[in-house]
Subunit: 347 residues, 2 copies
Amino acid sequence: MIPTLAWTPDGVRFLDQTKLPLEESYVLASSYEQVAEAITSMVVRGAPAIGVAAAYGVALGALRTKAATAREFALEFDSVCARLTATRPTAVNLFWAIARMKRLFAGLLAAGATLDQIKEKLLAEAQAMYNEDIAACKKMGTFGAALLPDEGGVLTHCNAGALATCGYGTALGVIRSAVEQGKRIHVYADETRPFLQGARLTAWELMADHIPTTVICDNMAASLMRAGRIQAVIVGADRIAANGDTANKIGTYNVAILAREHGIPFYVAAPWSTIDLATATGEAIPIEERPAVEVTHHGGKQLTPNGVGICNPAFDVTPAKYITAIVTERGVLRAPFGESLKAVGRS
Amino acid sequence: MIPTLAWTPDGVRFLDQTKLPLEESYVLASSYEQVAEAITSMVVRGAPAIGVAAAYGVALGALRTKAATAREFALEFDSVCARLTATRPTAVNLFWAIARMKRLFAGLLAAGATLDQIKEKLLAEAQAMYNEDIAACKKMGTFGAALLPDEGGVLTHCNAGALATCGYGTALGVIRSAVEQGKRIHVYADETRPFLQGARLTAWELMADHIPTTVICDNMAASLMRAGRIQAVIVGADRIAANGDTANKIGTYNVAILAREHGIPFYVAAPWSTIDLATATGEAIPIEERPAVEVTHHGGKQLTPNGVGICNPAFDVTPAKYITAIVTERGVLRAPFGESLKAVGRS
């Protein structure tokens, strides 16, 4: 399994995704500040992965504290959580994971747990979230594989794979599961400017699994669809609002429109922790604007003229009407998503 | 005016578009073979510009011949034209320009012209085509400016500017003309992977003219449209079939679908030499597949894992139904384009 992130006695070890595919190197985050930095700089990225990373970050905040007692650590705890919360605004898994750690901590504190017990329990919770992520991806894979054709081209955007999770993937987990079932899938990976998650990460991890993969520039999708080379689209998600509107990597909305125009089903695969029933529609999802340098430069080389204006929103919102189905570990949801999400959320 | 290509006593001088925007350097093509190489390697690109470049190439073939007489040169002439024809398959201006030079040559030969007369006339014809290109762009500018909003965002894809023509531009000529008329246009330039004509060339030439410009990645267009920041789209063309189907830089078809989905007008600006009434529909337009290295590498640095599949079609075809109007130097054409193109072609 691809070691996206792993707990070690010294802290969290991240496979450095800024260096892939040419270099397979690791970054050790031995403090919560270093975990926060790894999330901000996209050493680790992908909504499910940064959720679990943040949970480990909270655990590290406890493990590395100089406080002598639980009460003393409680004075620091909020700032640990605030630092990890401030890393990236769009993916809700981050906030979900930190909120879960906060609830656990509040309960332990109220129950009079010792600092050592708190350290142990916070780490165990992060480990549990790690294991749950893998289990959820496997379930999504099983549910989602049935949606993919027995043979054909499947387009994906960005990386919703092992590298975006703890090791199996959401959208790519569905593809992996379909391939394991014997389906003959050829993956078309949008290169996904500006960070090139498709060209660098999706291509790298699918090649590692010997799944046939072709990288295309983001602007080639429509012509491939028209040529009949794409039978389905599947992507991940960073936040799904209560009505099914889905924030995901910039360009996802483009692909969703193109798919509908060509009569191609458009699927979203995401764990339940990506669903934000407290956010009514996509309009309310905050969209991160990343530094212009990601667009203006590549590998230290400048692409654009000095001083030109740049847009670099990291995400866009695909309205629910473009989505054929949402694959979660609780099953495959269909429109109207407002109702299906509410019903499954209750169950 | 931007010196995209210029005739000099030593041959054709090209502004090297592979080096822009960071380096403003020139390539001198002093033989027809060097002109062909400049076209293939995209030192010069853009349908109108490569048409005129090829005409100069034919003239250079005559000027540099070792033949002593017109009859002797006639034995070489076809291979000069064949070499220039074999450079790029999609833009019809190239074939149009070479055919025009061939007709002139055949007439001169039949009329018993001397080799010196032929050299002089072929060069004069290329010069005429250069001047006609600038005049056509200015006319398109005047006709097309009326289509753009008095104030607002205009999205363009690739570079259909001074750098794609002899110095004013087709789509960007329309924008220039609108700005000269006092319209307050903010240009959004798709970066246009993989060759980055938008990020490198459109941004460079619009900044030189102090026209406000923001570069976006190709996959950001839909979210900007949804946010109300784009009021019109205007692009160039490499070949327009008799029914209005338009081949242009890869990604144009994507943008056309997105524009229609958001109720935004989608305009094509191209000189009459881009219109190919002999090609019935877009299905018959050959699409150039360029080397994979344009996608896998940038600035010598590898982006993708070794051995991954790559698609790199240089163009796509936008069906006529997505096009609001076609701006030519003969006026603004509207649907049904089969009829309007035929009518204007006859006039």
